[in-house]
């Protein structure tokens, strides 16, 4: 199945784009999507402890399952305000 990946801030720069489309195994979790990105972009690994994630513009957990067509977002620590 295929998911849209959204990346922000420094992660967006490391990944070269704010929107990627990636094929992932059926029944993949957010965590599996992230692991595949870490393989692709080694600089991502450091972010795991401080990372937030969302599925379809709602905050999610790394154990959340993703479905075909989902938008999966990975967010470094926020700094609004």
């Amino acid at each position: 199945m295929r998911v849209k990946v959204r990346l922000f801030a420094r992660l967006r720069e490391l990944g070269g784009s704010g929107e990627l489309v990636r094929d992932v195994p059926d029944n993949a979790t957010v965590s599996a999507v992230w692991q595949s990105l870490v393989q692709e972009f080694p600089g991502f690994a450091d972010y795991r402890p401080s990372l937030s994630c969302a599925v379809n513009t709602e905050y999610a957990k790394f154990t959340t399952a993703v479905a075909d067509g989902d938008e999966v977002a990975f967010m470094p620590p926020v700094s609004g305000g």
Binding site: R6, F8, R10, Y59, M75, V78, S79, G81
Partner: protein, 157 residues
């Protein structure tokens, strides 16, 4: 742009936000403006660029407005956050909190800015003389009860 919560690349307007929340039963309106400072951690800042995950950021602002209403039932609140490039002195965020009495307006406004820094998916890219850096603050987790309690402690202190 007269929604109570918004993420926008337009210039922010505190008076308009105050107008959105004021009502005849309100005796107090507190507004907070976050401004771009010309220095940070010893560096001379030239400008900032704010990036947002906009749909989730608006939902997070809505959540903060709900949390404030739960905590201070008489409070009506509006929050707008700016995105894009901002010059020194421009406002990055405006909060307006109206309530019957001033204690609640102050507390809820203070609470909101603490929560914004905790859970709203917006990122600050700081450009200074000699370089630039992404500011990384809090790991966003709206369900982190300790973070919420910390914001309440600061607000009502």
């Amino acid at each position: 742009m007269n929604a109570r919560t918004a993420v926008t690349d337009s210039v922010l307007d505190a008076a308009m936000l105050a107008g959105l929340v004021e009502g005849p039963g309100h005796g107090a309106v507190v507004t907070f403006l976050g401004l771009v400072r010309d220095h940070n951690q010893g560096r001379r800042v030239t400008h900032l660029v704010y990036e947002a995950y906009e749909p989730l950021a608006v939902k997070a602002l809505d959540r903060i407005v709900r949390e404030a209403a739960d905590q201070w039932p008489s409070v009506r609140m509006a929050i707008h956050h700016r995105t894009g490039q901002l010059a020194i002195g421009e406002a990055s965020v405006v909060i307006a909190a109206a309530s019957a009495h001033r204690a609640d307006a102050f507390a809820s406004c203070r609470y909101a800015i603490e929560r914004i820094k905790q859970i709203v998916p917006i990122w600050k890219h700081e450009f200074f003389e000699g370089g630039d850096t992404w500011v990384e603050g809090a790991t966003a987790d709206p369900d982190d009860v300790r973070a919420l309690e910390q914001a309440l402690r600061i607000a009502c202190a």
